[in-house]
Amino acid sequence: MTITDLPISSLVNKLRNKEITAREVIENYAKNIYEKEKNIKAFINLDIENALKRAEELDKMDEKKGLLFGVPVAVKDNMNVKNCETTAGSQILKGYISPYNATVVKKLEEENAIIIGKTNMDEFAMGSSNENSSFFPTHNPVNYDYVPGGSSGGSAASVKSEEALAALGSDTGGSVREPAAFCGVVGLKPTYGLVSRYGLIAFSSSLDQIGPLTRNVKDCAIMLNAIVGFDLHDETSVNIKKEDYTSFLGKEIKGKRIGIIKEVMDFNIQDEIKEELKKTVSTLVKLGATVTEISIAHLKYALPAYYIVAPSEASSNLSRFDGVRYGLTVQGENLTSTYELTRAEGFGKEVKRRILIGTFALSAGYYDAYYLKASKVRKILANEFEKAFEAVDTLLLPTTATTAFKLGEKKSPLEMYMSDIFTIPVNLAGLPSISVPHGNDKNGLPIGMQFIGNWFKEKELLQIAYAVENG
């Protein structure tokens, strides 16, 4: 096994045993980056020099503490890393230097991970293909003509291409799971509130969660251990007992109850994905789990509800970008025109669309019919999931209805929004969910299977995902 093949626990062990040095690790990953980055373009900013410096510091340490000791991690560019440029994929934040660390970044550093760069993303996390990045698109490492998915496309691609061992992404409507599925890596969205959002540039506050992208389920569990925790800086983070998310991995899943969502079949799903779903069911049955059909009657209303709630919150969250204290400033004749010009030039088309939709949905006369209505539909969905989890432990469905599409293929916004039909309901309910690679389509493009767990039941969720991965 080469250094860059090593999963997290093996890498950490070898470093602790001094079989390899952290400097070697970074050098090897840097080699991958230099070879592949020009084709993939997963990163907006790389800092190999800094990574090497950090590696040298780690090598000097006597006690090699930290869950992620020496692990090269890529961080999505919507998380503040102190003294680094943080763009959220947008021109309006080009040149913005973070004066503080996001809590998850702080945690990565406390666990002695090595942050090697900031990954490319759809602007302000709005998108499903990374094509909305205002800088450049990212290419799927499996086939460069295809999108890696989005909005954490850069993070997913960097893990698939072995430019990083693990990455952090953010998931508001599927932005960790969908690119994970498209690229053939593991991607987890934790329960809402489990991971601090402090320092994550907000898209939709009641939906955003930070999650890991990794090569396998065990690495995912280790990353989760590193980043979860109650944070005094985030009122939406929950104060629950800390768990070890690796502790159930490898335990048998005999007797676990798996639910297949009936309404999923109402959608147009690619044949190979339907096949993989069947195969996954077989594996689960073989491992002793029971598989039953579950109804989430209002599943199809999740998408429209999401596309009201998320842009509404986003329209407010993005109001702080006015050019006064940071970021792009386009001077107008007066203050109002300065705002208008700065934002018109700084924001891309999709962002503008969503800000306008959100502004509309919150405006006087429309609030009740749109934002309030969507929030009620959200409640109905959450209730249906809650009921489902009385009957089953985990839900299984495809992560996406199709495999990756070609760059430039999707024409209209609504077409693009459809990529998230199976991931969005999870965010609306605040449930944890993981995408695990499972086979490829006839063109060799990866397929992902999605497991949805009960609130705060990541241990069991990872247990089942691990069983399927290794089953």
């Binding site: 009641s206 596309y307 934002r343 018109a344 924001f347 306008l356 509309f360 605040g430 705060f456």
Partner: protein
């Protein structure tokens, strides 16, 4: 149906003429798609914003370190007197 000029003003976004028509089309299509929610009976349903276990905790009234001038000026140079400077606010 959509008063795009009013929404632009509220959002402090000035669309360029050439993109305005296309975006307005997109918006109308998307908002038309939202009509499907009318099918859902939401009578007597409470809206959901906060998820399970959401509890507001209270911070102690103790001073914490903030950002110094150096940190601020990584992004915008402050005008003399240590102010942020903007173009005059018209009609104030």
């Amino acid at each position: 149906m959509i008063d795009i000029d009013k929404i632009e003003k509220l959002a402090a976004l000035k669309l360029k003429e050439k993109e305005k028509k296309a975006i307005l089309n997109d918006l109308e299509e998307i908002i038309h798609y939202f009509e499907i929610l009318k099918e859902v009976d939401t009578e007597n349903v409470e809206p959901q914003i906060y998820t399970k276990g959401a509890q507001l905790f209270l911070r102690k009234d103790e001073i914490e370190n903030g950002l110094n001038k150096e940190a601020l000026e990584k992004n915008k140079t402050l005008a003399s007197g240590n102010f942020y400077r903007v173009k005059h606010i018209i009609g104030e």
